[in-house]
């Protein structure tokens, strides 16, 4: 059973992304939303976390939240895919469960 994980806090503020990457299974997906989008930026000090996840999981980032933070033009870590809210909804249908790391 594949799970869609949502992470809504910056990895520079909380350890929820780290916990999520450590505990989620291969085949899962991680969607970065709200302040979680900071983790998607290439060259970030915590980029290795996302790169580790990308080895066997998909990583998505919510585009409107990048835009809201003035980050829409920033380079993303290679392999991270952007989605809008329609895409967010579609992801919840494609995975069997949604787990929010709050």
């Amino acid at each position: 059973m594949a799970i869609l994980h949502t992470v809504n806090k910056s990895p520079y503020e909380k350890t929820s992304l780290e916990s999520c990457v450590q505990r989620s299974d291969a085949g899962a997906a991680i969607l970065l939303i709200e302040d979680g989008v900071y983790a998607a930026l290439a060259g970030g000090a915590k980029a290795e976390l996302v790169k580790a996840a990308l080895a066997d999981r998909k990583v998505f980032v919510l585009e409107p939240d990048l835009k809201a933070r003035g980050l829409a033009d920033q380079a993303l870590i290679e392999g991270v895919e952007s989605v809008d809210f329609d895409g967010f909804v579609d992801l919840t249908t494609q995975y069997d469960q949604v787990n929010a790391w709050l």
Partner: protein
């Protein structure tokens, strides 16, 4: 697909209420069904009809009310979380001898049983919060 939505964070706190609203709107626009939006913990503050945000800011409660009316949504507020935070409907205000009630239209006070029921009936539970 049938969704249950849970909101644990107050409006204007971080972003959870806005994200939840945008998710609900996108899901409804795609033809999915939202069987219940459950407001829990500080999320109950979404339901106050007495909020007066600045004119150039969004009124999150009014947005929920409008969406609720348009799609006949069940906007459920946890009774225990609401009582602690001073969110009372007419019945609760009378029961506790308060001089005012402050639950916006469409919202209604329920209990945790309704969250459990929604989780059982829904295909997905999507949670938003701090």
């Amino acid at each position: 697909m049938k969704y249950a939505i849970m909101i644990n964070e107050g409006p204007y706190n971080h972003q959870a209420s806005d994200t939840a609203y945008n998710f609900c709107k996108a899901a409804l626009d795609k033809g999915h069904e939202i069987i219940r939006v459950f407001f829990y913990h500080d999320g109950v503050n979404n339901a106050t009809r007495l909020g007066v945000p600045p004119q150039d800011d969004r009124n999150i409660t009014e947005k929920w009310v409008a969406l609720g009316k348009e799609h006949d949504l069940d906007l459920s507020v946890c009774v225990a979380a609401a009582q602690r935070r001073g969110l009372l409907d007419e019945g609760e205000a009378q029961r506790w001898g308060k001089d005012v009630n402050n639950i916006a239209e469409v919202f209604h006070i329920t209990g945790l049983g309704q969250l459990v029921e929604a989780c059982i009936q829904a295909d997905r539970l999507v949670e938003f919060g701090d």
